[in-house]
């Protein structure tokens, strides 16, 4: 009962906060309400973890009755893992870009922004915790609408065009998703993720394959539209950076969650991986993504673009891990998600800082930052350990589990190609960062000065140090996250 009441608080808190932001005259409280909602949600989730581990899932089901939309939920290891990481990333992004957003908005628009942000948060939490198809569809739409609304504050015509394109793709994919759910309801008599549809003998394989392709396209266009934002990567607009971070990190996390949810709870892993050819294609596409991202990282000289390609590499590794479908590969997903959500995000935040204050996020600018504000640059030195996948870091454990899963005398060992290529690029990037921090350079711009006000220096120092300390915390308690990943893998394989 306590778990259920915790959950309702988790879900409705952002909604209440949103209403408050719309109506309240206290402008200065909007940010604190938003951030408190995220922290409260994270706290409630962490409190629920022991129950979820022992019971495997906690739910309340009203089976498509009128109450279902507002009161139905199911929270399990999959949703809790992804949601905690997504909330952590969301908090970091909001805190980091808060001043830039508020500078752009007037007092009048601040309330609207935070209200929409909290609706977005509400939708996000429900996407991870709902168990009904229709509810999932509704919350995905709310999420997409609120994201589009947030992007409208940028007042950048180029960015608005991209956002509109993204929204159109989203609409198209929503239609495909709705069709899929309708087919599932009509043919397989299923309205929720309680049991996979492949356990029902009513439907044909052809229909399921068609549904699988619909879902595949939906996931690609809804959650991985990174290519749309690539051209805006080098934009100095901080709002663009905020939206790209949301799109690149949060949406991708949601995307991976949806992939796993559909594979294990909608279609059934038995159906998806029964065809060896399909598994191989899945694995190869992950490897290709890693190689493509690696080539991109190698060619790029700007940290912001490199972050985009890094996300591709991480995505490729996660997709490859899913395709192997064994205990160790599924364990690696947790660590890759942590790396994706924290380390990549740190690099992106740093690149936004360089872009905003030094006009470029190229490596040459890092030396200037180090010369002028060494305390702000110090976290970057520490991040080299995490980027180079030193032992005991999240990326190391991700690679460990994936290599363990792939070291078989079978086609699975092709994953080692992806690991070698990804590692090559990680090393290359860490050496480039190292060189930019330590290499002496006689060019005139190396002596350039930048000026930041005391409050900005404090803010950026605190921001970068907080993220690095959070990543270090994860590293120190890798054993706990190892148990979580182990439980998650066992849970998924038991479905």
């Amino acid at each position: 009962m306590t778990s259920i009441s915790c959950f309702y608080l988790l879900v409705f808190l952002p909604l209440i906060g949103s209403l408050f932001c719309f109506l309240s005259p206290f402008k200065k409280s909007f940010f604190w309400i938003s951030i408190s909602s995220i922290f409260a949600a994270a706290f409630l989730l962490i409190k629920t973890i022991p129950s979820v581990i022992s019971f495997k899932s906690i739910g309340n089901d009203y089976n498509l009755s009128l109450l279902s939309l507002s009161l139905e939920f199911r929270i399990d290891l999959l949703s809790i893992t992804f949601l905690i990481i997504a909330l952590a990333a969301k908090a970091i992004i909001l805190i980091y870009y808060k001043s830039d957003i508020e500078e752009l908005l007037g007092d009048k628009d601040k309330g609207k922004f935070y209200a929409v942000f909290l609706i977005n948060l509400f939708a996000l939490i429900n996407i991870f915790t709902t168990n009904r198809y229709f509810n999932l569809f509704v919350f995905l739409e709310i999420y997409a609408f609120s994201f589009f609304a947030i992007s409208s504050i940028s007042k950048d015509s180029g960015l608005l065009k991209i956002s509109f394109r993204d929204f159109c793709l989203n609409v198209a994919s929503s239609i495909l998703l709705l069709l899929t759910f309708l087919v599932a309801f009509l043919i397989f008599k299923s309205s929720g993720f309680d049991r996979p549809i492949s356990t029902d003998s009513n439907g044909s394989n052809l229909v399921m394959l068609l549904m699988l392709s619909f879902v595949g396209l939906t996931v690609l266009f809804k959650f991985f539209p990174i290519w749309l934002f690539f051209e805006k990567m080098k934009n100095a607009n901080s709002i663009a950076s905020y939206l790209i971070a949301e799109s690149m990190i949060i949406k991708s996390i949601v995307g991976f969650f949806i992939i796993l949810k559909f594979i294990y709870f909608f279609f059934g892993a038995g159906f998806v991986f029964s065809n060896e050819l399909a598994s191989k294609i899945f694995l190869i596409s992950g490897i290709i993504l890693v190689i493509f991202g690696s080539i991109g990282v190698y060619q790029q000289k700007h940290l912001q673009s490199i972050c985009g390609y890094f996300c591709l590499i991480n995505s490729g590794l996660i997709i490859s891990a899913i395709s192997l479908n064994n205990e160790y590969s599924l364990r690696s997903i947790t660590f890759y998600l942590i790396n994706f959500g924290l380390v990549n995000l740190f690099l992106f935040c740093l690149s936004s800082f360089l872009k905003k204050h030094l006009d470029s996020s190229s490596f040459a600018r890092i030396w200037i930052l180090k010369n002028n504000y060494s305390f702000v640059a110090l976290p970057l030195k520490l991040s080299i350990f995490f980027i180079a996948s030193f032992p005991l870091t999240p990326l190391f454990f991700g690679n460990w589990n994936l290599a363990y899963a792939g070291l078989n005398p079978s086609f699975d060992s092709a994953i080692l190609i992806a690991l070698v290529v990804a590692n090559f690029v990680n090393i290359e990037l860490s050496l480039r960062l190292f060189d930019s921090l330590y290499e002496k350079n006689d060019s005139p711009e190396q002596g350039a000065l930048i000026y930041l006000s005391g409050s900005k220096v404090s803010f950026y120092s605190l921001a970068f140090w907080s993220i690095i300390l959070l990543i270090s915390y994860v590293t120190l308690f890798a054993a706990n996250f190892g148990h979580l990943s182990q439980n998650l893998a066992s849970y998924l394989l038991s479905i």
């Binding site: 032992p391 690679n399 290599a403 080692l416 090393i427 860490s430 050496l431 190292f434 330590y438 290499e439």
Partner: protein, 467 residues
């Protein structure tokens, strides 16, 4: 008790690096600089006693101390003490603008080597090995000249890539055995397939020597490393630690009996041919070396490949000799560094470009240099003669032409280089050295580490049974 000893071993290089970074010149700091390696050595003496009392093996927290790690720590201790005494005096005579950073780097390397030496499992070994590579990057960026930077960056990049193969080796070990600890007798059981053991050994081999695999350094013609850079970066941070880890893997992961059994003749043949090729290329480069810096650089590669070959062969045929390789190569290359640095300093000060008449100007340093080269060849009464003799015995009895060719390539090339240096340095009619040459050659603090190294190498001949 073990806790305090380990605290001494980790604390002294850590504190030394902190004091070195303070860059003070007072007598207290200079005394402390030498005191730290002495404290370190005292710690190792204490560890030796504890090891004897504990029956030859100590497991403490995530640390393992056994005979092989103790020998490694003794070698590290000698190198640190000798280098500190030597460089402190050397840099007061020959100014070095980045001496402070070199001191800091040396202390950090010793600290990390200590951690590697007492690591209980592959994970900790990989972590500290990666830290050594990372700190080497600083050395490259700060100290290398423009011509050398490209080579060093390539080398260091390959070192990082090497760690990935080591990582794969670690994962594979865990997959086969369910553990990654170093255990006396090994953790790889005899009933594992030869294919798996071979693949594992290949991963470990690539994970430790990938960056030195191909002699691509011959294509970087303009490189001319300072002796100090070769000694600290190539030898200390790479060669010595890689050899030691390989030794630890053979003893603690494979175990001698398992290693001997699966290493069939076809595999050894391939390995021999590879080593022969590498030694031949290095030997040719060595014979064509123009100055002491180049000689040291090519000597390093030649001896590392020979040491690698020795470790593997002793691992298969004569396990008792395996620790002697680390002992010999570390003392030998240290001795070469101390004696060659003296001569090189004299060359720089006097403006001389060759070694003509050097024996008359600096008889002690020149003698020690020749002594070192002939020891490497295996014809001087040092521990290396025992090593080379054992190697030759195995080559004749168990192996064949390729092994014998390898040993003789080493011998001939070193004899050639030694005789070339001797002929030049014995030339008469060359302008006599001034006070500076005499000062360098007779300065006790410059000569003492080299003489101590030579004495240890000679006494090593009698201590083979202990080693």
């Amino acid at each position: 008790m073990i806790f305090f000893i380990l605290l001494l071993l980790f604390g002294s290089p850590a504190l030394s690096s902190i004091f070195a970074s303070a860059n003070k010149d007072g007598s207290i700091f200079k005394t402390l600089e030498i005191a730290f390696p002495i404290i370190y050595l005292a710690g190792i003496f204490g560890l030796t006693r504890s090891l004897i009392n504990n029956g030859g093996e100590i497991y403490y927290f995530t640390f393992l101390i056994d005979k092989s790690s103790l020998i490694f720590l003794y070698c590290t201790s000698f190198i640190w003490l000798g280098a500190t005494i030597y460089l402190q005096r050397f840099w007061s005579l020959v100014s070095q603008h980045d001496a402070k950073n070199l001191k800091v780097f040396l202390s950090i390397t010793i600290l990390l080597l200590t951690f590697v030496g007492v690591s209980k499992n592959l994970m900790m070994t990989l972590f500290f090995y990666s830290c050594i590579i990372l700190s080497s990057q600083i050395l490259i960026l700060k100290f290398s000249k423009i011509n050398e930077t490209k080579y060093l960056k390539t080398f260091n990049f390959l070192l990082y890539f090497e760690t990935f193969f080591f990582f794969l080796a670690m994962v594979f070990t865990y997959k086969l055995t369910g553990r990654i600890d170093f255990i006396e007798g090994g953790i790889i059981y005899d009933d594992f397939g030869n294919d798996e053991k071979t693949l594992l050994l290949i991963f470990f081999g690539l994970g430790l020597f990938f960056s030195a695999l191909l002699p691509y350094h011959v294509f970087f013609r303009k490189i001319n490393f300072e002796l100090c850079s070769t000694f600290i970066f190539l030898f200390l941070s790479y060669g010595l630690v890689s050899l030691f880890i390989l030794q630890k893997v053979i003893i603690g992961i494979f175990g001698f009996s398992s290693f001997r059994q699966f290493f069939d003749s076809s595999l050894i043949n391939i390995f021999e041919i590879f080593c022969l090729g590498s030694v031949v290329v290095s030997s040719v480069a060595l014979t064509f070396s123009k100055d002491l810096k180049n000689i040291f650089f090519n000597l390093f590669f030649q001896q590392i490949f020979l040491a690698l070959y020795s470790v593997i062969l002793f691992g298969i045929y004569d396990a008792k000799m395996i620790s002697l390789v680390i002992f010999s190569v570390s003392l030998g290359l240290s001795l070469f560094f101390f004696s060659a640095s003296n001569i090189e300093a004299n060359l720089i000060k006097s403006g001389q470009i060759d070694l003509n008449g050097m024996f008359h100007k600096m008889p002690i340093s020149s003698s020690l240099l020749i002594f070192c080269l002939l020891s490497f060849a295996g014809i001087m009464p040092t521990s290396m003669i025992i090593e080379k003799f054992s190697l030759l015995k195995i080559a004749i009895n168990e192996r064949g032409f390729v092994s014998i060719a390898l040993i003789f390539t080493n011998l001939i090339s070193l004899l050639f280089v030694a005789s070339k240096i001797l002929i030049k340095s014995l030339k008469t009619g060359v302008e006599q050295g001034g006070d500076f040459s005499r000062d360098l050659d007779q300065d006790s603090r410059l000569i003492m580490p080299a003489i101590l190294g030579a004495l240890l190498m000679i006494s090593g001949m009698f201590l083979v049974k202990i080693i």
